[in-house]
Amino acid sequence: MNIPEYTPALVVAIPLLGAFLTPLVGRVNDKLRNIFVILILAINAMLVALLSYDVLVNGIQTYIFGAKDLSYPIVRILFEVDAMSVFMAIIGSIVLLVAVIYSWAFMKENTGLDKYYTLILLLTAGMLGMMLTGDMFNFFVFLEITSISSCALIAFRTDSAESIEAAFKYIVVSAIGALFVLFAIALLYGQYDALNIAALSNAIQYTFLDKIALVLLIAALGMKSGIAPMHMWLPDSYGKAPATISLVLVSATLASLYGALRVIFTLYGNVLSTISNSGIPLNVSIGWLIIALAVVSIIIGVIMALIQSDFKRLIAYGAVAEIGYMFLAIGTGIAALGTQYGETALTGGIFHIMNDAMDVGLLFLVAGAIYYSTKESSLNKMGGFARNMKYTTILFIIGFLAVSGIPPMNGFASKLLIYESTFMLNPILAIIAILGSILLLAIFVKVFYSAFMGPEIPRFKNVKEVPKSMLFAMGIIACIIIFFGLFPELVITNIVEPAKNALMGYSGYVSQIVGGGI
């Protein structure tokens, strides 16, 4: 059996199989189940690495379900993996592996862990399927799988009332977003009789119904990824989930952002430069709308974060601001399509996706470590932890320097690209972006002072350091942050530039399927 040929399907099928086997393994022994889950996710990570090497060297890979080759008209579901999909899949698999290693010690006192690990493996399958698929209805199905699994995981601690409320708000917002995505897919299907992204992109003309479908898709996928003013479910659900689930949820919302990118650049790639009937090209109007929403979300994110007193809720508002940065870069890339600084903006935005997942993830894990040691999650009651928890303090310093874009961490490399390219479009955008970074630094200095600095409070005199497996998991992310910060050009030329070229060169994606490529 030729393994590289089957990897796109194995990457989704192995976690699905593992999810169904986990309750059976859990009946035998608890430690065996933990090792089984880590083994499945490690195999999955190796398959993703193999797939990414294959794609970066050989071009776009496809896998057709149920047939050997493709005969026209296209009726089969297929996975089409190009460099952008592989970029997101690398982020997803690293994040999930770190989350499961961290949960070994973090979730040890909870009961019902069979269901926890089963849901995490289902979430893996859904998320990776969303990133690799080449078919619009398949994208909708995996979107719903991801949102149902993550809602159940947010409500995992059923004894706390706020977790259930956060999970209810999450599932209502998720269901509405996914149903409007399905409505837009039905509109496109009714016109062109195709569900495949490449076939739709080939056949699309910019009629009135296509405009409605584009608006619905961008608004619904934007709500799922959390730009303002539709961001209010994000602090609720990130703040009240267990810390490992907050880490995995960051990656799941970034998968919805990937969906929005796929729709704008590949599905509507052919018509992005048509002139609408008010004289403005399509890419300029979409680009400036996205930039407006992104600026609002940066400002709301940092200003609301300043008055929070709950640790994870504050980091979640910081995550809203970071999503604003990504959308700012993507909007500039759309509005300035074809210019040099537009391409730099898109590179910065794509690089910032990976950096944000790592940085905000590390901050959530540190918040989880403090909750594990002291059962305290309100910043007003903490103080003086740096005496007893030295390693956690160092990891928190690395995390917050990276989030606010201080050299030499990886946050600075991607934010530098965003500042310089948005300056070329309009200087005010760069000023707002830099002010946002400074306010983010102010927010996390507040957290650092009130949680780690200060005199030794007698209530926390016997706080111990967290177990070594949690430190190991946080250390993996910290090493990635420092490595990406010291060698940014290595990452940009090898992983980010192919992703940007794959996104802007939609004709390669289309001709793989339609132009008789198979």
Binding site: A155, E162, E165, F168, V172, F183, A186, P235, D236
Partner: protein
């Protein structure tokens, strides 16, 4: 004109569902609103497959004198969507049961400990 009635029904269902979610204060009514929107989208998917004068697309039991069949692909998509809708509905209702046990009320304006 008579062939446009399903599309008008779809728009009416979606608008009534959105009205129920935004303006009603009972949690069960919000869940019913989500189900209404889902029914509207499923109706839209099925209506797309109809051709004038067609019969049900079962290959082996074609009645005499029938020339065209309706498209079978939207019917498969609708089945998948109905199943997903059932799963989401079950999850939402079980969360409502937990919320009632914790808060004692089903009023959306009182189930609001997570604000600002």
């Amino acid at each position: 004109m008579i062939f446009n009635i399903p599309y008008i029904a779809v728009v009416a269902l979606i608008l009534i569902g959105l009205y129920a979610i935004i303006f009603k204060r009972n949690l069960i009514k919000i869940v019913i609103g989500v189900t209404l929107i889902e029914s509207g989208v499923n109706l839209f998917l099925i209506t797309l497959g109809y051709r004038t004068g067609s019969v049900a697309p079962i290959y082996t039991s074609k009645p005499q004198g029938a020339n065209i069949m309706a498209l079978p692909v939207p019917q498969a998509l609708t089945l998948t969507s109905i199943v997903i809708g059932v799963a989401v509905l079950a999850l939402m209702l079980s969360l409502v049961i937990f919320i009632y046990r914790h808060y004692g009320t089903l009023d959306v304006k009182k189930v609001r400990r997570l604000k600002e």
